[in-house]
Subunit: 246 residues, 2 copies
């Protein structure tokens, strides 16, 4: 039975799973769960993931959610996945776990909160909150600085000084890619100072082409939609919610 | 060379690592990094963990931080650790990763934010924030409910229906244990409705005795200190910061 991936391409961890499966030639079925239509709360999807979140997978009788756990499972369960994605080596693997754990309360927390409170809330019917956005920007910028100065140190093009990407590169780069929906001045202010991060994003795109660009197309549609809306400072109550164009 | 564990017993992930090493008979050295004295920012400790956080380990030349990554590393690197802590089985291991990943943005986020904003801030010179505490309580209570109804479902005494504890049981129970420092009325309101969670905490204590109680002694000293202070509603600026009694 084919692997089923329940995903919404608007969600950055969903995109990471989809790209990973495509890059590794895994035979899978993408099942769209549209967050804008609240399909993650449907009784059918609750059977897949009682937490009501995407991404989630079903592999035969086995169900799993949480994107890092899914990436690790797929890397281990499907024999065609090259070792560099999730090395067998105890020490390399431990470092990848460390990056992935760090991701949760740092890069993910800062990026998701900033995007929600500075622009995406508009599409979700949630009022924008400039103070929350400012707090989130501090965490986001500090996280990018740590990636630049610590996780990307060494001569390799990828995290932990590696010359080939791991699941951590894919997960973190997909997280950062959501900044594409921001106003250009915000995006440039936040990403501009981090030249190594910018190069690493390009290297990760290159290493996962053409799937990376294909799966990320939706972001540019969202950006177009968001920037057609009245200015971000206004109350968002009167704006129609964004319909996913997947 | 002996494994070095850099920890402050006031930190719940530090306690999880210490208990895990002791229960599994691992020969290690506990190196105290006192958060109250800001020792995590010392140049010496920055050589161990550039992020300035505990716990961290050094095993020979290998350095690692993030508690989940450390638990997995120790379980794999030290041959004496029983399989139930971090099973070799692909599916069981994947489920443990899923619990650990879920922990970050749910139980950990809610518990740490609630404790900080309802009482611990007093000792850290940070003003208490009842609104932030109320928001955190929602996340904490929802997380405990998910543990009760989802992660503890099945007939086993531990997470995922298991009859023996895994690193996920230890990590999550240590997180919940910090609620011991709360006012009794807060602790009872939050934990009271979750009978299975209470039984699971007792079962995890039993499975890791006497080390669990020994490592947690500090919590009761902190509680005693905090509850001798003027009432929590007042500004904490004038109170002397808590000195660790480790």
């Amino acid at each position: 039975m084919k692997l089923k991936v329940y995903a919404d391409r608007m969600s950055q961890p969903s995109r990471a799973i989809l790209i990973f499966c495509k890059v590794n030639g895994i035979d899978f079925e993408e099942i769209k769960i549209e967050l804008m239509k609240r399909q993650q709360f449907s009784p059918e999807f609750k059977e897949v993931n009682a937490m009501g979140k995407v991404p989630a997978i079903v592999d035969g009788k086995f169900k799993l959610f949480e994107s890092h756990a899914i990436l690790i499972y797929i890397a281990c369960a499907f024999p065609g996945v090259a070792d560099h994605w999730y090395p067998n080596d105890l020490f390399k693997r431990a470092k990848i776990h460390s990056v992935l754990d760090w991701h949760h309360s740092n890069l993910r927390f800062g990026a998701a909160k900033f995007v929600l409170n500075s622009i995406l809330g508009t599409a979700l019917g949630i009022p924008l909150n400039p103070q929350a956005a400012a707090e989130a920007e501090k965490i986001l910028s500090a996280s990018l600085q740590k990636i630049e100065s610590f996780w990307l140190k060494g001569n390799g093009r990828f995290l932990l000084g590696s010359n080939q990407p791991s699941i951590a590169d894919l997960s973190l780069v997909c997280e950062i890619m959501q900044l594409e929906v921001l106003d250009e001045k915000d995006r440039i202010r936040i990403l501009g100072p981090h030249k190594k991060v910018q190069q690493w994003i390009e290297d990760t795109k290159l290493a996962t082409r053409p799937h990376f660009d294909e799966v990320h197309k939706i972001l540019f549609k969202i950006k177009e939609y968001l920037h057609k809306q009245p200015s971000a400072g206004a109350s968002s109550d009167s704006k129609p919610p964004l319909q996913s164009k997947m």
